[in-house]
Amino acid sequence: MTFKHSIQTAYKGLEANRSRSLLTILGIVIGVAAIILVMSLGEGAQNLILGQIQGMGSKTIIVVPGREPKGPADAAQVLSDSLKERDLDALKRKENVPTLKTIMPLVFGGDSSSHENETYRLTIFGATPLIETIFDLPVEQGSYFTEEDVRGRTSVVVIGTKVKKELFGDSEALGEKIKIKGRSFRIVGILPEKGQVSFFNFDEAAIVPYTTAQDYIFGIKYFHRIIVESEDEGTIARTVDDITATIRETHDITIADKDDFFVETQADLASRLSTITSILTAFLAAVAAISLVVGGIGIMNIMLVSVTERTKEIGLRKALGATYSDILTQFLLEAVMLTGIGGIVGILTGASLAFIISLVLTNVLALSWSFSFPVSAAILGLGVSGLIGLVFGIYPARTAAKKSPIEALRHE
């Protein structure tokens, strides 16, 4: 039989058994679509989490007050007031940390703000103008406050878009005043819409000089973080060592166990998060594997039943002169067509669903989610369901084709 006629025969075979063909395709579609969907969402979640880290440069080092939490029972906040102005001064000295490029203290907390009759609960960051480069946060209107403002404890503020919208609606906000803790702050800059950056949502934030925040808003003399940028990635380890040594010296600490601060690098954070994301990925892969097995069993059943039911047809074809390989080719091609169609529809369905979900996540939940197409999952899904389709499409056909035509024809 020519290949052209093999294809025609296979196609007619599928058409003659239309409902079973559709069921098989459906089984494959569900298996493949489930895997694509699950893996695409998994990749999206990973990218979302990793994107958070990348919001801050890889050369960033964060000094955190308190003892480094080693387990859930540790009271990490016990020594939370340990980082003070003198630590900042010591770190700034070139001879202490020669590889330090920039340094910025950070204080933060929630408080309410008001303008005329509108009030809004925002997150207040006390920082220096360096926050612009460290968090990659340029202003959209106006400008940042200056080092001068930091020294003079000026009451000026840069606000996020959400703050602006809630307090001012569509009217002009730049140059206007908002009240925080009973004190008037003049708006000098407005941030563009940014979404989540490094787990902070700057859309809901107000940035003020850290001195102002310490004295007039939080009433504290310490910092919540000190953020340092190393000269380049190669000097991170050295910078961390110098920072640790410098602060220990200022705090008169001789044994590491007594440290009342700890130093985190973006690399630490990334590795900690990658543990989380790899657990997530393993979990999703397990879910995907289960859906593939379930889909596979479905395909297996339908294929076994539908091909076995056609034993009589196989007997007839043999009686009319079909060779063993004619029969095998026909059922192989039928299985290839079924799994091919099912696989393509499955990929399209899974990818479309994942895409729709990514649209919902970005537009409705305002996550910086990006749709990704998991090529490996597509190959895996296609491969496994295709293989199952082929094996269970051909195996019963092979058994039937080996029988004598009469034996096959007698099959009901």
Binding site: T2, K12, A16, L316, K318, A319, L320, G321, T323, D326
Partner: protein, 240 residues
Amino acid sequence: MPLIEVKELTKVYDDGVVKTPVLHGVSFSIEKGEFVAIMGPSGSGKSTLLHLLGFLDDYTDGSYNFSGQDAKSYTGDEVAHIRNKKLGFIFQSFNLLSHATVLENVRLPLLYSNIPESEWDTLALKAIDSVGLSHRTSFDSAQLSGGERQRVAIARALVCSPEVIFADEPTGNLDSKSGGAVIEILQKLNEELGHTIILITHETYTAEHAKRIIRIKDGLIESDTQVSSPHHTNGGILIK
């Protein structure tokens, strides 16, 4: 050289649990151009014998020479070729592809032949015409009456111009008028076109359209006689 020659042919069905001996050693030969009727009571082994002769099943013991060659010496593909090109089989239960038209059913053996595709439709239409079904060519086989289905099966058996046509009680499921038409076609194929015909029937009148009658009983040949003057139906009906 006889076209078909069997010696001490036996068949034992064996489903792995029970062995059912059906043919206990039959011997005969059939020359090219003969029209043989095989008769015998139900269960005597007629169909079994026809399946063995038609390469549709394997015999247990004895020998079967087809065209002078031992049947066991043919390879799988050669057997497929013989079934396709040299033998035509008409089953009592028609065995048409359901979801296919008359034309598609008759074309089916051509698909497995080495006849070029350009001739398929001509050959199929000619075969359909010879059984008087030209007006049903594009009908689905499920839309046909029993007699028409059996005629489609005959057309399918004819389409590759086989040397031998086997017919297993082709009139068994038909009324006497349709049955008469089927026998008339077979007789014409034998007398006018020289096909060898081997027909199973349990009706003496039908059998007497053949030139020779082999009677089987309990898996053995009971008698083998020539018919002095075969009946001719000529559009008439089979009288039972």
